[in-house]
Subunit: 457 residues, 2 copies
């Protein structure tokens, strides 16, 4: 291992130059004019795999979407297999005039590399390429079997990936999926994300009278659909922030004592959080801390509401219809399907009798968790400690990363979210950057991970 680490340390500068080359490719998946750039980015990675002597390099979805590329190095079928996932596509660059240096002309300033895709996800993904290469160049052979799957549509919702995983279950078979596309808890703290919330997103339409009415002539005689909607939405949460839909919490996996202790140790700064959000008070489910509320407890948010007159001035209308978009963030072991049924039952019993309603499901995603004591997670902790010189923390994320669930379910493998990014690195905003120390430590961490993971079987 010492040789591998030495090799990585002595190539630090050349890795940055190589990353720059990757970052110059304008692989914006949302922009249809960038198709040739998507091609270039995928070819860049395939040639890297080829240079490292990988086998079976191919595009898994030749017929549709941006190339999902695959490559493998099977050293011994008896050895454990790691599947690295990443994406080569990036977010759009607007508003372009807010960038301090052009988004596709990478610059080094203040120990960071500035470019679109630096942290999300080209820089993070590249750590594994360089770790694999360093291993091969020094030890001649990898300690485990390695597979790469890299897509070019993550920023547009990964439309091709789930079916590609489904169609290639055997090819992708592995003992752990490693994803470096998340952030560290803070800049000083190496972190392993072991849980993500799921999502159940709905639209509710309430209909009162069959047309918009004059609120003078009819006001007071019929149920106003906006009123019925507000009554309904208000009733869904009690004053303690608990969701009142019966059986909503039935399947919620409780936080363990260990998890709650871990979160407390993070010394989350509520004052700074409130200041940053500009609120005088926080509000959430009683009995839980902010980290618990956003990471490990389900919630219900009203994402949008509309009805009646919304222009300037006064219009005396009693509208025919009112709408809301609401979504629940789910935690293990809730499912969007069950929550949908609970909500449908709830509406049946609670919408005012004097109106009608329609419930539409817009989106759903399963929550995910890899238990902390899973060997793939514990191995990551060892590797992180070695690379960062510090015990990592075990965190969750409040949002959803649908592909993580797909990998976990379809491949029946633990998913390790080993993120080297920072929340402050402007992913999805102008002036995206990636800390070069974390880039370097990420490469070392990936090397240690392969080494440690070789011992599990």
């Amino acid at each position: 291992m010492e040789q591998v680490i030495n090799f990585i340390n002595s190539n630090k500068e050349s890795y940055i130059e190589e990353l720059k080359e990757f970052l110059r490719i304008q692989s914006i998946s949302a922009d249809p004019n960038k198709k040739p750039e998507m091609q270039r980015a995928s070819e860049f990675l395939m040639s890297k795999l080829s240079d490292m002597g990988f086998d079976n390099i191919k595009i898994l979805n030749p017929d549709e979407g941006n190339p999902i590329i695959y490559g493998e190095k099977i050293v011994d079928t008896k050895k454990p297999t790691i599947l690295f996932y990443g994406h080569y596509d990036v977010q759009p660059v607007d508003p372009i005039d807010l960038w301090h240096s052009p988004p596709f002309e990478p610059e080094i300033r203040d120990g960071k590399i500035w470019a679109r895709g630096a942290t999300d996800d080209k820089g993070q993904l590249f750590t594994h390429f360089k770790a694999v290469e360093a291993y091969i160049k020094t030890e001649n052979e990898l300690p485990v079997n390695i597979k790469f799957i890299i897509e070019g549509e993550e920023e547009v919702g990964s439309p091709s990936l789930p079916k590609t995983i489904e169609a290639n279950k055997n090819l992708l078979k592995c003992d752990a999926v490693v994803v470096s596309d998340t952030s560290m808890y803070d800049e000083k703290t190496p972190s392993i994300t072991y849980g993500l919330r799921g999502l159940a997103y709905f639209q509710i339409e309430i209909t009162g009278p069959n047309r918009d009415l004059h609120s003078g002539t009819f006001g007071g005689a019929v149920m106003n659909p906006i009123q019925a909607l507000c009554d309904l939405l208000s009733k869904m949460k009690d004053k303690n922030g608990k969701i009142t839909i019966p059986h909503f919490y039935d399947d919620v996996l409780p936080l363990t004592k260990k998890e709650r202790e871990n979160y407390l140790k993070l010394k989350f700064n509520e004052k700074a959080y409130m200041r940053e959000l500009g609120v005088k008070e926080l509000f959430g489910e009683k009995g839980f801390t902010t980290l618990e509320r956003t990471w490990a407890r389900p919630t219900l948010e009203i994402n949008g509401i509309w009805g009646g007159y919304t222009g300037a001035g006064a219009k005396t209308v009693l509208p025919s219809k009112a709408y809301a978009k609401i979504s629940m963030r789910l935690v293990p072991n809730q499912t969007p399907k069950k929550v949908e049924k609970l909500l449908a039952d709830y509406l049946k019993r609670n919408v005012a009798k004097s109106v009608t309603y329609k419930l539409e499901t817009l989106h759903g995603g399963e929550p995910a968790i890899t238990p902390i004591d899973n060997v793939a997670i514990q191995t990551a902790a060892v590797a992180m400690k070695k690379a960062f010189g510090k015990e990592p923390v075990f965190i969750r994320e409040g949002g959803s990363i649908p592909v993580v669930v797909d990998f976990g379910r379809k491949l029946k493998a633990p998913v390790v979210l080993m993120g080297f990014g920072l929340h402050s690195e402007n992913l999805h905003s102008p002036n995206e950057h990636f800390d070069l120390d974390n880039f370097h430590r990420g490469i070392i961490c990936s090397a240690y991970y392969m080494n440690e993971f070789s011992k599990i079987k």
Copy 2:
């Protein structure tokens, strides 16, 4: 009187021809291109006044707005004075392709005259012109003093009228203001409208976090402003449809026993009403009938609501802001000013502490009532019975007619709403029309009113 009525009866057809001439003028006040037509309409009426030998004919607002025309015939300063109000402007005609005959080419079909302005308000206003004329032509002298004030901006909110009344209080001095710009209870029932609701219209803005947040990352940690808004709006009405704002009902003039009896006698058809509105159930303040709820009880309606994502599909946003437009319909003796204060106090105590709010007053109007036993109303009842051969009913309207309040307050005179229109006559919609029998009876009614009113002093 017999002579007057006979004269009216024998001139029935020529009145229709004259009305057609008035209806051909395209006096759409909302359309700036129709300025010359506004001029034509006002000149048409001024020449009619002149033909009848009226004095002091003039434009009261020469410097701004469409002409508010005035004319008077003072027969004896000791005799009572009636001030007739009406408007010569009409609504726009869109959508034009839904009209069965051109809006400004009046046609007679099925005993009705079809044209824009037929019922609102040219036809109704014209009844008083023809009654006055019939009196003068047969009796040589009017039984009372008559003043006319006719504006051309009613359909755009009467911007010039209130100050014109204020500036001409002495000129307009009278013992009753008669307005024929309302509808009959139904096609068989002559009606006197003696009460109108007022209005207090507000906009509420709720602010949560200082920017839109990702509902995955932050959902569960901060109060969602849409949630806070729904909670607030839901709480403002209880399950019995009562408004919960403290002291809201303090100034409400209770319905008298007599009024409630009168309304019951109207045998309001709730089934037909529900069918017409397409609702399965009605909803309103417990303990009151639908007519009482819409005519004589205050109400609170949410006229509009918006916040967060309202486009197609799912966007996982926890918004920074949410808005609602709400309005209260007021009844005597409530005032918009007091209600605004009550609402402000209510918000202070009831908006969630974890958000901030802003209350904006958009519009206000006083309610109005002329007691049924007022002599001006009772005289109208006698005239209506003579003209329609049937006892009139005493009704109120749920909406507001601001000018009515202005006349009542500024001139300190009872206002009589003697409407000859029908709700079904498509005022403000394509295919506006006016029943010719009601036009004819309206002229007779106006003549009887003058005759009866001459006896009051």
